[in-house]
């Protein structure tokens, strides 16, 4: 999507004349990704799509389930939920990939962590969904695993809690939704905001959901990509920072958030085509926390914040992994790993901001309303701090 920044600045200036509350509830502008709005996170260049799918072979699909309005009736709705599926590569159940995990705060569920820690491998598609659907999604993914005399792979399912807007207890995600998301997965642009597993999610007390970003690293004659996808459902409004600016504190003065539970979490998936081994990917995963923190999160006591990082560069055939005569791998020398760590941190930060910028207002159970991040006010704050690129700082 292209955006005429000059036109936006004119519109933005006009919108500032409108009452703040009205502007917050009904943004004048449509939703746009951070870079299209003039927000540039970090200094490494993004890939062509600025998405996790910039890593060749990675595919993403969403199933978004939205139905009903009004009072919560468990098992009926309203429903604001879904599943996001990531294929690290289509043949993942037969050709494993090295992976690493990190847990900034573990009050949640993220299956597959033990396979990552003890075996250092990823051997399943990754699905992100709502808290109460982990078991069902896990079982659906288990059915994709080959059945023979070798050990079965470990489904990877992460969850965040969408019960502010969604009838979570009603368990509206079913196996067909998982299969639809897996089947719909493609390379290319990734839908963001209130889609898939991010449909009912809340981030810094604004509407959150799915976000993505990427970074390209060129060194030693090689070109590698680090791509990130987040399911952003974390943070309190006053904590939000965008590109180092305490946007949330200023927005809270204009429009305080209603008191809500801090039961919320962030799931961060990092993909790279750089040849990194499991222990190096764990280091990459740990850097996601820095990107998360730059957006203001401190990983609250009740957060289920999880990161999984995988590399598509070394493919380990299942047979060789379990009972072959060994296999060969390649890896980036530790002395040259810094740009990848930086890329992971930057891309996580931008992916979270993209989730906020792309998500729209949503009303869910019992009329609960979660506003979208008010872009007009946000950009005005960033402009005052000199943080808009492309001459939009005025």
């Amino acid at each position: 999507m292209t955006f005429d920044r000059r036109q936006f600045v004119q519109l933005g200036a006009l919108s500032l004349l409108a009452p703040a509350a009205t502007a917050a509830a009904t943004p004048v502008l449509g939703r746009h990704r951070a870079r299209a709005l003039g927000i540039t996170i970090g200094h490494l260049p993004p890939g062509p799509l600025n998405a996790i799918t910039d890593v060749a072979g990675v595919e993403v699909g969403h199933t978004t389930i939205i139905s009903g309005h009004g009072k919560l009736e468990i098992g009926v709705g309203p429903v604001r939920t879904g599943v996001t599926a990531i294929w690290p590569q289509r043949n993942i159940v037969h050709e494993f990939l090295p992976c690493g995990v990190d847990v900034p705060n573990g009050n949640g569920e993220f299956s597959g962590m033990l396979a990552a820690r003890n075996l250092g491998i990823l051997n399943s598609p990754i699905c992100l969904t709502t808290t109460s659907s982990v078991g069902m999604v896990h079982d659906a993914l288990q059915k994709l695993q080959p059945v023979d005399d070798l050990p079965s792979g470990t489904p990877v399912v992460g969850e965040t809690w969408d019960d502010i807007l969604n009838d979570g207890v009603g368990r509206h995600v079913h196996e067909k939704h998982v299969l639809e998301a897996l089947a719909a997965a493609r390379g290319g642009p990734v839908a963001e905001g209130s889609v898939g597993g991010g449909t009912g999610m809340t981030c810094y007390e604004y509407k959150g959901g799915i976000g993505t970003a990427s970074r390209v690293i060129e060194q030693g004659g090689s070109r590698h990509t680090v791509g990130v996808l987040v399911q952003a459902n974390h943070g309190l409004r006053y904590l939000l920072r965008i590109d180092g600016v305490p946007v949330g504190a200023e927005l809270s003065r204009q429009s305080p958030a209603e008191p809500r539970s801090e039961l919320n979490s962030a799931l961060m998936i990092i993909a790279t085509d750089a040849p990194l081994l499991a222990h190096q990917l764990q280091r990459l995963a740990r850097r996601a926390t820095h990107g998360l923190a730059r957006t203001g999160s401190i990983s609250s006591n009740s957060s289920g914040d999880f990161t999984l990082a995988f590399s598509t560069a070394n493919r380990i055939p299942r047979e060789a992994f379990y009972r072959g005569r060994g296999y060969a791998l390649q890896s980036v020398e530790q002395f040259h790993i810094f740009p990848y760590l930086e890329a992971a941190s930057e891309a996580v930060e931008e992916a979270i901001i993209n989730a906020l910028c792309m998500a729209e207002d949503m009303t869910g159970i019992n009329g609960n309303f979660v506003p979208a991040l008010p872009l007009t006010e946000t950009l005005e704050i960033l402009r005052r701090h000199g943080r808009l690129s492309g001459g939009a700082n005025g």
Partner: protein, 221 residues
């Protein structure tokens, strides 16, 4: 000095060093893993091991009350190797404290210590008991050193020439029943390479790893 196959043991009356290669080898690292149990806390140099999952110098064992001085001597050894003191040149010296009364050290103990390691020559015995056992598993060897104090395990070092990855080594180290267990795989030596080059790594399958784990279980008891 006792030559023990996968590692060499250099002993002095106040400390002990396990060398996996000559102290002044070209920059390079071996994958390593660490497991501690219970209330054990007397350890220096573990940060680099846990971050990079590698080791590049000797493992030093010393009475806990003298751990700082011996760590510092280990740092001098790394400085003698290279003033850059990188993670493939002996930074940081992994130094394990053993809960035992420290014997008196001569004034020139630090010079004695460095000389013993550089010459790979023992002079006396450390104030704890050592037992070394080894096993052969298919194509690979496994060797372990137990340090005992009054019949109780104080530390275990496991070494193998199998090319185990860090997560596989961790499973080996986790079998250790001593307060601290270090596992080192010599099957991949990671030399320093230019930015345009990649490290070439070998790995074993789960089927190859299983008997190594069984052997390690027997050796660590």
């Amino acid at each position: 000095m006792a030559k023990q196959g996968l590692f060499k043991v250099v002993e002095l009356p106040f400390c002990q060093a396990l060398l996996f290669e000559h102290w002044d080898a070209a920059p390079g690292r071996f994958f390593a893993a660490l497991r501690t149990r219970g209330a054990f806390t007397s350890l220096l140099g573990n940060g680099v091991l846990e971050e990079f999952r590698t080791i590049s110098g000797p493992v030093l064992l010393v009475p806990s009350s003298a751990i700082g001085g011996v760590y510092d001597a280990g740092l001098r050894l790394a400085d003698a190797r290279s003033l850059d003191a990188e993670i493939d040149q002996g930074w940081t010296p992994l130094t394990i404290g053993i809960d035992v009364t420290a014997p008196a050290r001569p004034d020139n103990w630090s010079a004695q210590f460095l000389d013993a390691i550089q010459q790979e020559k023992s002079s006396g015995a450390a104030p704890w008991q050592n037992t070394v056992r080894d096993a052969s598993v298919a194509d690979y060897r496994l060797q372990r050193l137990h340090c005992h104090v009054d019949g109780k395990q104080a530390a275990t070092i496991l070494a193998t020439d199998a090319p185990l990855l860090p997560q596989q080594l961790q499973r080996l180290a986790d079998l250790g029943e001593a307060p601290v267990t270090i596992a080192v795989a010599l099957g991949n030596r990671l030399p320093r390479v230019e930015v345009s080059e990649l490290q070439q790594i070998d790995a074993v399958s789960e089927q190859q790893l299983a008997p190594l784990l069984s052997a390690a279980r027997r050796l660590t008891r």
